[in-house]
Amino acid sequence: MYLLIGNTVFVALGATGQPKASHFHQYFKSLVSIGCFCLGTLFFNCLHRIPTGFFVNGPPSSRRRWILMGSFIIQAAMILTSGVLIHLDRVSNLPFVAGTFSSGTDAREKAAINDKKAVAAANYYDLTPVALLAFQAAGQVAMSRVMGVIELPTIVLSTLYHDFTADLWGLPEVWQRSSSAKNFFSEGLRRQGKRLASIIALFLGGIVGGQIYKSSLGMAGAIWLAACIKGGIAASFFWWKEDNLEESILPR
């Protein structure tokens, strides 16, 4: 049903009041998500371009230690903030109910929803974690762009699926060029392997998130786990090896 539908289509439909089954302000969430994603893109690109300047065709954006650490600390802090909001029942953290804006939080509303007798009142504070999480999601994409790994934009999968599938046509040539089968799998398929690993990682993330959601940890548990991963990445950048700039000249 929602196949191939993104936030933009949600907004486009919601502006015309189209999905009759959904709440008439449901598209506010998608709108806030897109807007905050764009704001986050501005912010994180600003962060990455501070040392090298804001030129269009200028020197490549920096991936300095303090920038990457700061970026990931900010992302983890935003995830933590939304996790606190969810944990303290300030925003709705129950499974989505069709036709409502917010699915409610506390036990009474939960019982009411389970009985299908009443629906929770619209809680417009739900837009806050949407905004925070969309803002921090831009940091990942900015980092993937800064690192020159164009083939892995961490959240947009359409291009990833396209590139992975389109590059299957190049496999015979890669097979002919590689000197041995080992070389074929280790060097020739490295890019494809990265793409496949990313898709599988996102899929696994979805499965783990769904399982945590169903468990007693609830929605906040998945958010805590995400914040821990982001904080762990920020900490790992502290011990990250320095790049020898003369050796690694990568295409951007």
């Binding site: 969430k29 994603f37 230690r65 690192m147 790994v149 990682a201 996102l202 998130g209 950048f237 990568l250």
Partner: protein
């Protein structure tokens, strides 16, 4: 007084005769002391300092004195200051390093995992994507469970 000045002049001239380049600091000290005949101590101090630091005028001597005093104060009264300044310099160098790209793919894959985690729960609760602006994969996780088999 005049005898002393003569002695200094003679000494300076003697060194000048021995070596081809006359030390200019000694000559300047002599002219200074000649202008101030009434102060004996200043003469001695000038000649002593000029023999130690040949190219030092009054301004640079003030600066040198202040710097050495500050250094001694720092090293005596604030023993951590020197070390902490060095630490600030080295840590600034440390945090400004460009990081290696070789293991960054792992970070990106972890980011994928995180965005999958966040987006799945966000879509489950709020019916809205927060990371993926074009949603595709979560559909296959959640929707086939809710759509009936014989829908179409």
């Amino acid at each position: 007084m005049s005898l002393r000045i003569d002695f200094v002049e003679k000494e300076a001239g003697g060194t000048g005769n021995d070596t081809p380049a006359l030390p200019s600091a000694a000559a300047s000290a002599v002219t200074l002391t000649n202008s101030r005949r009434n102060s004996r101590w200043s003469y001695n101090a000038k000649s002593a300092s000029s023999s130690r630091e040949p190219s030092m005028d009054r301004g640079s001597a003030n600066r040198w004195w202040r710097a050495s005093m500050a250094e001694s104060m720092v090293s005596s009264a604030y023993p951590f200051m020197n070390r902490s300044m060095e630490g600030i310099k080295t840590s600034h160098k440390f945090i400004s390093q460009e990081l290696d790209l070789r293991r960054m793919t792992l970070v990106l894959i972890l980011c994928f995992f995180t965005s999958g985690l966040i987006d799945s729960v966000a879509f489950n609760s709020w019916n809205c994507f927060v990371g993926m602006q074009t949603g595709m994969v979560h559909i296959s996780i959640f929707e086939p469970l809710s759509i009936g088999v014989f829908r179409y």
